[in-house]
Symmetry: C2
Subunit: 428 residues, 2 copies
């Protein structure tokens, strides 16, 4: 029986015992952090080979470049080939950047602001009345922070189980020329974990935006980050775009990195785009830098010489992460099934579980957790301008904690969710 | 006797034998490259310790951060301390960035274009009529390329033996509000190799620009890159600015890197600025990236734990580079002294020798060298818009070639300089 269908007297009695349980928890003085999508220490150990891959004797790339010296703007050929094989994108459409795909995204928007997209249209900073981005929500806070900082107006679009609400996306982009882009995490989406369906990918490729410089920011952060061997399959947006033509291909800016394959913050990131866009990006990047860190590129390709090696690595990650996601799922289910106090995603990969509590309860749950020693991602973080209009979404990052700590943290979370839900029902 | 004072008959006869020497050289089919300020292979060997500094067991920073994971936006404390000791800048005024100081400079100008300098003034991209930079010339082509690409108008200012012509700099910045910055390579300047005098540094700190958002881009790329133990001493601009006050300190954006200490393109770069500016930079950088590559920072500080270790490394570099600069100086002197065909700089550090041939002769020398198998940096590269109004400056990069090849290349260069000079005198 859900809380909403339970009589108030029963609820009041349940609340009383929940409060006594809460006080017991609080007295333990926990300090548990569910905020960040960080690999756990065991995962870091999987990539130590990267640290010792190079010595003075083996820094020459496939085509004879000493990676200890200047040269090579857009990435070592063997690293392009690795990403090409892994992501099914032609190597010539790839630029290998530095350590951060977020930085490549920021730089891409900055170029659009100052130079216009591929020099085809007005720089976004000069568009009268400003420009707008569509933001499937809940989504990734750092995407939204880029827009907010650069003064790009964000329009939320609902996320469904198979991707963004494409009816809305199509309507908006075909009617408003100031809409210049959309943020997508197409596989194991942050935070809901869902993967875009074939139909959604095809509809993206088939978009006919009013803005000729409309960009699809395809942040495939979790491209190979499956928890199970029968992982979600994401259709290739470049393949679908190629069927339609250059205007479709030119919309796509594709990002990926090894941050959660090897070392976060010390991996290798890429941007992939149409041939025309790649040429345009390189023209500006050549002014921005002499080149990215080739030694780190070489380290990575020496440890992971082909896609099969990366996939083996991802199986090792999955072996560590699977139990964590299952702990979350099992405790949420055990404690909350039938209460109507929350619904949550059951991702088959990625780094997050998205949790919707009762409307108006997220802030209360956040505060209860905080006071009991469990840190959650700020309420609203998954929404443009950090504003969750229904005050209901919470993002759970289960990867960093030990399995024991995670078990404790999720149990505390469910206790707080129950308290907030019953409080709400009692007030109704 | 200079060529200009020699009778034409004698010159014609000298030219004839120079042409026959030139044809002999040409027949050898040389391929020698004097274009890039790249360390030579022997120099790269000096830093191999960086490659093997880390394994899985020693990636924890001084304050307990596992550098294999996310965290730390503005650099490891121990790396800030290293640069602080080396450059005499308080650690809290330093942000440790990625692998490229050029990228930090580009990013700094981009922030000024989009957000304004420290949010104090209008973004440069919105200034009616555009903004301007002063460019001491000859100077660094990549500085000029940033301005050109971003549409910042460049005003050349003469370089003297003790730095830029400060009378002109003071006049211009105090009268024109659209002048927003100046490029400086204050020590072993690129390409002339001179170091700014104490008086010049003091006059920089004492500038009273009409533009409140005027920036001094202090690219101290060769801060510790001395060829001789009695190296040039550069006054600390931050110390001088502190004597004047916050407006002076806020003008300074200071850059340095380990590109020519350890590995070009795989080192560590910093930006240093006033406390107020650092806070403002961090506010934007926090949106741009989750963090720079801490593992590479850690590698560097493990190999070079203090300034003394860096200075020892620089002595080893100097031991390799000194003979190269002396080869250039000796051959230029032996072949050209007294001819009036060229004057050149005698740098005590850095990576370049600047050579002024007779007016109108640089392009001719460049072409003669090219056809004889010696590549020089493009004529005009050291000037804004790649335009040397007198067609006389050439930049020589003597570091990369072996001593034998360098000897050959400089001899060929002098032969071409003589031919071009005599041709000019014969036409006069």
């Amino acid at each position: 029986m859900t809380y909403e269908n339970t009589d108030k007297k029963t609820l009041a009695s349940q609340l009383k015992s929940l409060w006594s349980e809460y006080e017991r928890i609080k007295s333990k003085g926990y300090k548990l952090d569910l905020t960040r999508g960080k690999p756990c220490p065991e995962q870091l150990e999987l990539s130590n080979c990267v640290l010792t891959a190079l010595s003075g004797d083996n820094c020459i790339s496939k085509d004879g470049v000493d990676c200890r010296n200047y040269g090579v703007l857009d990435g070592l050929p063997e690293v392009k080939e690795l990403f090409s094989e892994l992501l099914d994108i032609p190597a010539e459409n790839i630029i290998v950047g530095g350590n951060s795909s977020l930085n490549l995204m920021y730089d891409t928007i900055v170029r659009a602001m100052l130079f216009g997209v591929s020099g085809r249209e007005l720089p976004w900073s000069r568009v009268e009345g400003g420009v707008k981005f569509l933001c499937p929500t809940p989504g990734y806070d750092r995407h939204f922070a880029i827009c907010e900082t650069l003064g790009i107006k964000m329009i939320p679009v609902a996320m469904k189980d198979d991707g963004p609400d494409m009816d809305t996306v199509e309507d908006l982009v075909s009617s408003d020329e100031s809409i210049k882009g959309i943020w997508c995490v197409p596989k194991h989406s942050n935070p809901t974990g869902i993967t875009y369906s074939d139909d959604v990918v095809r509809r993206f490729a088939a978009l006919r935006p009013k803005a000729k410089d409309f960009c699809i920011f395809w942040d495939n952060a979790y491209a190979v980050h499956d928890l199970y061997s029968d992982g979600d399959k994401l259709l290739s947006i470049f393949d679908e775009a190629a069927k339609i033509g250059p205007e479709s291909e030119n919309m796509i800016y594709y990002f990926a990195s090894t941050s959660k394959i090897t070392f976060p913050g010390a991996g290798v990131a890429i941007i992939a785009a149409s041939k025309e866009n790649i040429a345009d990006i390189k023209r500006i990047v050549a002014v921005q830098t002499i080149g990215y860190d080739k030694l780190n590129q070489l380290r990575h390709v020496r440890c992971f010489p082909n896609a099969a090696a990366v996939r083996r690595q991802m199986e090792l990650h999955a072996k560590i992460l699977r139990p964590k996601f299952e702990i979350v799922k099992n405790i949420l289910s055990r404690e909350l099934d039938g209460t109507g106090a929350a619904v949550w995603s059951n991702p088959k990969g990625g780094y997050f579980v998205s949790l919707d509590v009762m409307s108006g309860c997220a802030t209360r749950v956040y505060e209860l957790c905080r006071d009991a020693g469990v840190r959650l991602t700020d309420v609203g973080a998954t929404f443009p301008y950090s504003h969750d209009p229904l005050d209901k979404n919470l993002r759970i990052a289960p990867t960093y904690l030990s399995n024991d700590d995670l078990t404790t943290a999720i149990y505390i979370l469910t206790t707080c969710i129950k308290i907030a839900a019953i409080e709400k029902c009692l007030k109704a």
